[in-house]
């Protein structure tokens, strides 16, 4: 196993508020890495440091570093290339005001793929991976914004997969999706990890337990501890970790 993403003494400030406090951990290639923790513990901020979308928010400051394959993301000249290597799915589903087809084809087009057949294939494949294909295959030309919340959520997943990222970051992707569909997507995630590294931020500790190889527990901006999933759940070093993961906290 090789390290894919490495956080080293990473801190993030929003103004004077410290949203992430000196986090150091590393994520292996081709694993599912779970990040759990109560609301406002800095999980989402952590994801935003990976593709540097945090830079777009005024008033933020970071110290320490995030590196991918040993390269500090700060030193990557073309930030858009960096972002294309990473798929992001955020909890608020945002269908772009384009057709379902164009939503999924958006990133490939920006990367310069304009060939119709390639795009058709890609769109179908990504929508299938997001378990959305059956619901929308007959109406690929409706607006993405007109889909239901759960469908839009899966649309964002399909969109994130469409530029064939090497890292997939999921931030509470199942929040608006029914349990059956969630299970299907979880199965697909297990298949996908052969091809990419998946960072899974979730509120559902059992979901992390089912899927993740390693789990990190964040609380109040701090990384409490991280390690192999089974050890974290059965024999954590800190008492608070055990309480949170087993559901009698918060």
């Amino acid at each position: 196993m090789t390290t894919h993403i490495n956080f080293l003494d990473l801190s993030v400030y929003y103004g004077s508020h410290k949203a992430v406090d000196e986090v150091t951990m590393n994520i292996q290639k081709n694993e599912i890495f779970g990040i759990v923790g109560p609301a406002n513990s800095g999980k989402t901020t952590l994801l935003k440091t990976i593709n540097r979308t945090l830079d777009l928010i005024t008033g933020t400051r970071t110290t320490g570093e995030v590196s991918i394959d040993g390269t500090n993301v700060r030193n990557i000249g073309n930030v858009n290339h960096l972002r294309r290597r990473i798929g992001m799915v955020f909890p608020l589903p945002v269908g772009l005001p384009l057709t379902v087809y164009e939503n999924v084809a958006y990133a490939p087009r920006r990367a310069g793929i304009h060939d119709k057949e390639t795009l058709d294939e890609l769109v179908e494949q990504c929508l299938k991976q997001a378990v959305l294909w059956d619901e929308v295959k007959d109406r690929l030309d409706t607006l993405g914004t007109k889909l239901s919340g759960g469908q839009q959520q899966r649309l964002t997943l399909a969109r994130a997969l469409a530029h064939q990222p090497e890292i997939l970051c999921l931030d509470e992707f199942s929040i608006a999706i029914d349990p059956v569909t969630t299970m299907k997507i979880e199965d697909i995630l297990v298949q996908l990890k052969e091809k990419m590294t998946i960072v899974l931020v979730t509120n559902l500790t059992q979901q992390a337990r089912r899927l993740a190889g390693h789990v990190a527990f964040l609380n109040a901006s701090q990384l409490v501890e991280w390690g192999e999933t089974e050890k974290m759940f059965s024999n954590p070093e800190k008492e608070i970790t055990g309480r949170y993961l087993n559901g009698d906290f918060g």
Partner: protein, 316 residues
């Protein structure tokens, strides 16, 4: 890999994306253009006025009445702009006496009392009112109001201070209404609800809660109205009679029926007759400088009053 069939759209996209650095330069340049335009306006107006600036007798300019650019044989030309400043001042004051109460009243009605279709209709009508060009107002003053004022007051000429003030009032009022309405709308609904819960009537809310909370915005609205009135040109030219008169007794209401002449009207009516590059021509640009500086001061001040020095909308 499938055969490459790059669509036309694809080519267009490629071209547009490839041009991003160029487009970004254009966007930045355009973004800064407003500053360039304002600077250019200052530069070119000063350029035309420049040669005469060291020779302007500012004391005479501001405090004497004799504006004689083309004097009789053997006399010196004199440039005393006091009577025009009086004209501008008088038109501004009287038009604001009409426009401010009407404008604030209408803004309060539209923002706080009117609902649904009525509100919509009023807003659209005010917008149309704002669109009526200056020259049409001048026409209304000269052709429509003129005979009305003649017959009501029994005077031989109906283009005068009163006529000009009415016309300018109607021109300034849409601005006052829309800025005041913005200011009132910016007051959070929670203020209204809190006052309502205490048993205040709508009118009490207006003068006890909304006026204090929106006072900056309302003040700015009135200032911008003043700015509009001072800068108004074609309408005052046509509706005020364009004659230099300084009344002896300012307390006499009959001054309303006298002709006046404003700074703006002076420039319009004299520029065609002035010799290009001559003193008279340059003095008209000096008047332009006075108007320009006044308008920028008014606009920047009211902008700061509404948005604060840093530009956040919160204390509107």
């Amino acid at each position: 890999m499938a055969t490459k069939k790059t669509s036309f759209r694809g080519l267009g996209a490629k071209f547009l994306d490839g041009a991003e650095p160029l487009i970004r330069i254009l966007i930045y340049a355009s973004g800064w253009s407003a500053i360039i335009f304002v600077a250019a306006i200052f530069y070119f107006i000063f350029q035309e006025a420049w040669p005469i600036l060291p020779r302007v007798n500012w004391g005479d300019f501001f405090f004497t009445n004799d504006w004689v650019p083309v004097p009789a044989e053997g006399n010196e030309a004199t440039y005393g702009a006091k009577s025009m400043m009086y004209g501008t001042f008088a038109v501004t004051i009287f038009s604001m006496i009409i426009a401010v109460p009407l404008g604030l009243g209408a803004a309060i009605y539209i923002s706080e009392f009117a609902t649904g279709k009525v509100k919509e209709t009023f807003k659209i009508l005010i917008e149309l009112l704002a669109a009526i060009p200056s020259i049409v107002w001048g026409f209304i003053g000269l052709v429509v109001l003129n005979p009305i004022i003649q017959s009501v007051f029994g005077v031989p000429v109906g283009v005068n201070l009163l006529n000009g003030s009415i016309v300018v009032a109607f021109m300034a009022v849409p601005l006052i209404v829309s800025i005041s309405e913005d200011a009132l709308r910016a007051v959070p609904d929670s203020y209204r609800e809190a006052a309502l819960a205490l048993g205040a009537s709508k009118w009490e809310i207006v003068y006890r809660v909304l006026f204090p909370a929106a006072k900056n915005g309302l003040l700015a609205a009135c200032m911008l109205g003043v700015g509009r009135a001072v800068g108004e040109t074609m309408a005052v030219l046509m509706a005020t009679g364009n004659g230099m008169v300084i009344p002896e007794n300012f307390a006499n209401p009959a001054i309303l029926l006298d002709k006046v002449r404003t700074l703006t009207a002076t420039i319009v009516s004299e520029l065609p007759d002035s010799v290009h590059g001559g003193d008279h021509y340059r003095m008209l640009f000096v008047i332009g400088i006075v108007l320009l500086i006044f308008s920028v001061v008014i606009n920047v001040t009211s902008d700061i009053i509404v948005k604060g020095i840093k530009g956040d909308q919160k204390n509107a």
